[in-house]
């Protein structure tokens, strides 16, 4: 048994020291999953957001846009915002992933590869997929609101110069919308970072999992959970700082 180290007379620092590697691994996992899901969720969210805004000039294309793009996108957003993320994670892990990766008859991968993948990366796959899908639903709403908040005159001015809809979107509307979307996107990123802790329930070795392991080993709760609380807190502070930095950088042409 190692020497007990007491901080302030009650905090067993030696426990944290003993499991230091586990906390660092957990931190890397939490940060990694967060970054990947923010990037994927933003991209996919943009697609869903644009799908919710899809419209066309002529009757047939108009109906196609509604039935093939707007409706599915609306149902998607409604489902992922209307059910608990925790339930989505369990559903993904125990029902959806086994459909695709199954030793017997996986839709995507079968046989031993599927078994190994599920064993080694099952929780990671679940975490990344469910958090991406979930955050994409929220991000799509941020995109939609951001795009709709830009004055119609901007699109009209760009189109009247001869720019295509896509180019007007890319050069004129989206840059302005992006500036307005940064604060809600930042909030969303912070929420996503904290929500990664839910994936520990299916065994992803991130920060919350590390804390639970330590708590189980020593039956001490202050030390591990306070430690990860401070780590989460520092991470969210860092994210918030990053978003403020971006806002300042993309604030070109704002009231000054």
């Amino acid at each position: 048994m190692e020497q007990e180290i007491l901080w302030f007379g009650w905090f067993r620092a030696d426990i944290i020291q003993e499991y230091e590697a586990l906390f660092w691994t957990g931190l890397r996992m939490t940060v990694g999953v967060t970054v990947v899901c923010i990037l994927q969720g933003t991209l996919f969210g943009l697609v869903i957001g644009l799908a919710r805004l899809a419209d066309a000039r002529h009757a047939v294309a108009k109906t196609a846009c509604r039935v093939l793009l707007r409706w599915p996108a609306t149902v998607y957003v409604s489902f992922f915002r209307g059910t608990p993320l925790f339930v989505q994670i369990l559903l993904m892990h125990f029902a959806v992933v086994p459909l695709f990766l199954n030793p017997a008859d996986g839709w995507l991968i079968s046989g031993d590869t599927a078994r190994d993948l599920r064993q080694d990366y099952g929780a990671l796959i679940t975490g990344i997929v469910s958090l991406t899908l979930n955050s994409a639903a929220y991000i799509s709403e941020i995109f939609r609101a951001g795009i709709q908040s830009i004055d119609r005159g901007q699109m009209e001015a760009a189109r009247s110069l001869g720019l295509s809809h896509a180019r007007a979107m890319y050069h004129v509307v989206l840059p302005q919308a992006f500036r307005r979307m940064l604060p809600p996107l930042g909030n969303n990123a912070i929420a996503l970072l904290k929500d990664t802790s839910l994936v520990s329930a299916v065994g992803l070795a991130e920060l919350a999992y590390a804390a639970r392991t330590v708590a189980g080993a020593y039956s001490r709760y202050w030390e591990p959970y306070l430690t990860i609380s401070i780590m989460y807190w520092l991470l969210t502070l860092g994210l918030a700082w990053g978003v403020r930095h971006l806002e300042a950088r993309y604030g070109r042409g704002d009231s000054r």
Partner: protein, 243 residues
Amino acid sequence: MDAAIRVEHLSKRFGRLDVLRDVSCAVAEGEVVCIIGPSGSGKSTLLRCMNGLEEASSGQVFVHGVPVHDRATDLDAVRREIGMVFQRFNLFPHKTVLENITLAPGLLRGLSAPEARERAEALLAKVGVLEKRDAWPNQLSGGQQQRVAIARALAMQPKIMLFDEPTSSLDPEMVGEVLAVMQALAEEGMTMAVVTHEMGFARRVADRVLFLDEGRLLESGPPDDVFTQPREERTRQFLSKVL
């Protein structure tokens, strides 16, 4: 030779509201046409149908013979040849004055950055806001913004210019500077369609004046005729209020 713009039996409904009712008119090459009429008479809608910003309910608009309201027409190509200036300027607030002007020619006319910049600076000098080239739109007065908007449209070297109440959201002391730029453009022979409440401008600069009321084209003629001896009672009533 075909007119620059020919409007044939154009009707536009918003829901149950008839905004334009069977309007036919034309703007000849090099002609300056002012469209006047009470608010809600459909003037702006008529103008916006000319470059397809507004879809026609029925009828057609031909720009240099090309039908604007036709699925087969490449509307972007038509719009490259028609400049438009808006009541609310609609400058791009995230781009500097210069970037506002160089964006479209750079993307659509294949101009290199130095070429686009040179053209933009020449146009800014022409409209008298060259010293603001690196400013942001919101640092400009309304009159300056509108002159930049005119330069932005001209940078595509359009053959036709549409003006949608270009001075209506300006402070009175800034109206003159914008009208002066427009008059200079008219004198260079630009084909122009101008929706305006500036009767002095219409009278001084227009080759022809169209009077719209409740979506109908009631009167069309040289400004001196329309302003001094209107044929329609409705025109007389309108003019008596605004002159």
